[in-house]
Symmetry: C2
Subunit: 426 residues, 2 copies
C-alpha cells in the first residue's frame, strides 16, 4: 500500500503512456485490467487514442469503445476517418449507439458534442438522505455525480447541487433547500470555446446544457472544458506564430510533416509580402535620388509590424476572453488607433535627435512623421482585421500578428515614400 | 423557485459584477448576504478584488479577508502594496494569520502559495460510512472535500479518494480499499505552471502537495489551477505580440496605461531594429551600384521573420506543455534548423522563376540562395533563443516571436549582401 508517486516530476502512468510509441502504448494498455485501461485511454488526447486503436485487436477496440462515456467516444470518433467511425458505430450496443448519435446530431465545436447525456436527476422535494441513497444506487451510470442537476415535474432544470454540499447538508433538509438556483446554463449549439470560458470564469465543476424550453440535455464537466481550453489556446498560439497547430506531441512529428504545417502559411504571407517589391519598384527613381531613404526601410516596417502585432494580439485575446462584445467594434478601433498615435508620437520624438545628427533635418522629419503615421496605420489594421474577421464568421485568430505585419509592410512603404516626396522635395 | 439563468449568454451575477465600475461593484457586494458576497468576491480576479477593497469600510474589509480561504487570501495579498498587505495581515485572527504566513513562506509562483492547507485527512483503516460521517461533521472547515487525502499513522500521503467514489462505494468497504494509490503529487516549491499542467493533463480535481518525507502539506484545487493557466496563457500570448500582459479587463484600462504597457517593448525592439540602419549603411555603396537589391529587402526579412516566429512559437509552446525536456536542446535546434532548411529550399524554388523573368539570373540566384540561408538562420535563432533563455533561468516566452524577428532582420541583411557581393560580382 505504498504510494508510487514521489514529489519529483513527470511521474504518472498517464504521462509515461503519452511518451511511448503507439505499438508499445497499445501493448501497455492491453496488459492492464480493462477498467483501468479504459480510464487511462479516456484521458489520452484523441490523436494518441487513434494511434492506439490501430494496434489493438477488433474485439479489444469494440470493448474499449463500448465502455467509453458518450462524450469521450464522440471526441475520438471525430478524429477518425468517416468510414472507420461508421464501422465502429455500427458495432456498438443499441443503447450506446443511440446515445452517441444524439451527440453527433449537434454541430461540430458545439456544446452538445462534449456534454455527457447520462446524468442523474434529483428532484427539489427529495430529502438530502433520500438523494444520497439514490446517488449510491444509481450514480454508477451517470457521467458525473460531482454536480447534480435538479429538475422539476416537467424535467426543466431548476437548480444544481454539488455533491459536497449534499454530503455536508443537514439530512433533514430537502434538495430544494440545499440547491443553488442562480446557475448559468447554455444551449446545445453554444460554441465550445464559450462554454470553456464560462466554466473557467465561474469556477464550475460542470455546466448544464438545456433546450429552448429549459429541459436538461446533459452536463459538460470541467475536465472536458479544460481540454477545449488547451486545444483552443494551442490553436491561437500557433496562429500567432504563423503556423498551423500540431495535434501531437512535438517529438512524435516527422520533419516533413512539421515543414508542411508551416509552408502554406509562409507562402501565403510571402505572396502578400511580394507586394512590397511592387511598391519599391514604383518608387525606384525616388530611391535612386536618395539612397539614404533605403537605410530606414527595415526599421520603419519593423516598428510598424510590431505595433500592429500588439494591437492584433490584444484585440484577439480580449475577444477570446469575451471582454469585447459584438456591440462596439468602432470603439475598439478608436481606442487602438489612439494608442497607435500616442506610441508613434513617442517613438518619433525619441528617434528625431539621432537621425537629425547623423542624416540631417529633411530625413529626420521624414522618418519621424512616418513613424507617427505607420504606428497609427498599423494599430488600425491590427485591431480592424480581427474584428472584421469575426463579423465575417472567420476565427479572428487566423488574422493574427504575422498577417497584420505583412499587410502593414506594403502600405507602410507607400506612406514612407509619399511623406519623403513631400518633405524632401524629390 | 424559478431559475435566473436562460440559455442566452453573459448571464451570471459574477459576469455582471466584473463589468461594473469599482465603486458600484463594492456597493453591489455590500448589499448581498455576507456568505454570498464572500463566495463571489473569491471568484473575482485579484486586481478586481483590489479595486473593491478600496471602496469598502475597514470592518467590511476585515470581515471579508477573515472569511477567505488562505490560498485565496494570499493571492489577493500578493497584488496589494506591501504596507497595505502587512496592515491587513495584522488585523486577522491568530489562526488565520498563522495559516496565511505558512503559505507566504513559500516562494512566489510556487505550489505552496496556491495550496489550501485546510484539508480533512482520512485514514485507510476507516470504514466508508465512518469516513462519510467524519466528512459531514468536519468537512465544513476543509478547503475542498471533492478529493480527500488518505494519510498513514505518520501523516504521510498514501492515497486519494474522490468524494463520489466514497458515496458510490459499498458502505462495508474501508477507505484503504476504495482509495487510489498511484497518485501524482508535487513538492511545495514546484512551479505553479507545472502544477497546472499536471492537473490539466491528468484530469485531477485536486493535486496533493507533500514535503520531502511524503507528509501532506495541502491540496491545490482544479479551479486554482485553471486560474494559473489563464494567467500564464495571457502572459505568453501578450509576449508573442510584443506587449506586457494586461491584468484587468480591456475596457477598464485607460489609453495612457495601454500605451505604457506597449511602449517599452516597442522601444527595445526599435533599438535592436536600429542595427539594420547600421548594416545598410555599411553596404550603402553596394546598394548604389545595384539599386534593385533594395527592392527585396522587406520581402526577404519578412519571410525570415515569419519562419523565425514559427520556430520560436512552436518551441515555446512545446516547452510550456512540457514536451521538451531539459535534456535535449541540441536535438530541438537540429530539428528546427532542418525544418528551416526544407522551408527555405521550398520557398526559394518557388521564388526563382518570377524573379529570373523580371530581374534576370544574377538577382534571382541571390534572392533564392538568401531565402535558403535566411530561413535556416531564422529557425536556428528562433529555436535557440527560448532554449537559451530557459537555461539562463528567464521565462522563454520573453524571447518571443517579435524578439526573434528583430534579431533576424539585421543578420539576414548581412547574409543577403554577402551573397549578393559574391554572386553578382560587385
Amino acid at each position: 500500500m505504498t504510494i508510487d508517486a514521489t514529489p519529483s516530476e513527470s511521474l504518472s502512468v498517464l504521462d509515461r503512456l503519452r511518451r511511448l510509441d503507439p505499438p508499445e502504448r497499445a501493448a501497455a494498455l492491453s496488459r492492464l485490467p480493462p477498467e483501468r485501461a479504459r480510464e487511462l485511454f479516456e484521458q489520452l488526447e484523441a490523436p494518441l487514442q487513434e494511434d492506439v486503436l490501430a494496434f489493438l485487436r477488433d474485439d479489444q477496440v469494440d470493448r474499449l469503445l463500448e465502455d467509453l462515456d458518450p462524450d469521450d467516444r464522440v471526441r475520438l470518433l471525430e478524429t477518425l476517418p468517416e468510414i472507420v467511425a461508421k464501422a465502429l458505430l455500427a458495432r456498438l450496443s443499441p443503447r450506446e449507439r443511440r446515445l452517441t448519435h444524439k451527440l453527433l446530431a449537434f454541430p461540430e465545436e458545439s456544446a452538445g458534442r462534449i456534454m455527457s447525456p447520462e446524468y442523474l436527476p434529483l428532484r427539489p422535494w427529495l430529502g438530502v438522505d433520500e438523494a444520497l441513497a439514490l446517488i449510491r444506487q444509481e450514480g454508477h451510470r451517470a457521467g458525473t455525480v460531482h454536480l447534480l442537476p435538479v429538475l422539476d415535474h416537467e424535467d426543466r432544470l431548476v437548480g444544481l447541487v454539488p455533491l459536497d454540499a449534499l454530503v455536508l447538508a443537514d439530512p433533514e433538509e430537502t434538495v430544494g433547500e440545499v440547491m443553488r438556483t442562480q446557475v448559468p446554463s447554455v444551449g446545445p449549439e453554444t460554441d465550445q470555446e464559450r462554454v470553456a470560458g464560462l466554466i473557467q470564469a465561474e469556477d464550475l465543476l460542470a455546466l448544464p446544457v438545456v433546450d429552448d424550453s429549459g429541459r436538461l440535455l446533459g452536463l459538460i464537466t470541467v475536465d472536458d472544458a479544460m481540454d477545449v481550453v488547451r486545444e483552443e489556446e494551442a490553436e491561437d498560439f500557433a496562429r500567432a506564430g504563423a503556423s498551423e497547430p500540431l495535434d501531437r506531441p512535438y517529438f512524435s512529428i516527422g520533419l516533413l510533416r512539421l515543414t508542411r504545417a508551416r509552408l502554406l502559411w509562409l507562402l501565403l504571407l510571402g505572396l502578400a509580402g511580394a507586394l512590397t517589391v511592387n511598391v519599391l519598384s514604383a518608387f525606384e527613381s525616388l530611391l535612386e535620388q536618395a539612397i539614404s531613404l533605403s537605410l530606414f526601410i527595415p526599421l520603419l516596417i519593423g516598428i510598424g509590424g510590431n505595433s500592429g502585432a500588439q494591437s492584433a494580439t490584444t484585440v484577439i485575446r480580449a475577444m477570446a476572453v469575451r471582454e469585447i462584445d459584438q456591440a462596439h467594434p468602432i470603439r475598439v478601433i478608436f481606442r487602438e488607433t489612439g494608442v497607435g498615435l500616442l506610441l508613434g508620437s513617442a517613438v518619433a520624438a525619441i528617434a528625431y535627435l539621432p537621425v537629425v545628427l547623423l542624416f540631417g533635418p529633411a530625413l529626420a522629419a521624414t522618418v519621424s512623421l512616418t513613424l507617427v503615421a505607420i504606428c497609427t496605420l498599423a494599430t488600425l489594421v491590427g485591431s480592424g482585421m480581427p474584428l472584421l474577421a469575426r463579423r465575417l464568421g472567420i476565427d479572428p485568430a487566423v488574422v493574427s500578428a504575422p498577417v497584420v505585419t505583412t499587410l502593414v509592410d506594403a502600405s507602410g512603404l507607400v506612406v514612407y515614400f509619399s511623406i519623403a516626396r513631400a518633405l524632401m522635395g524629390l
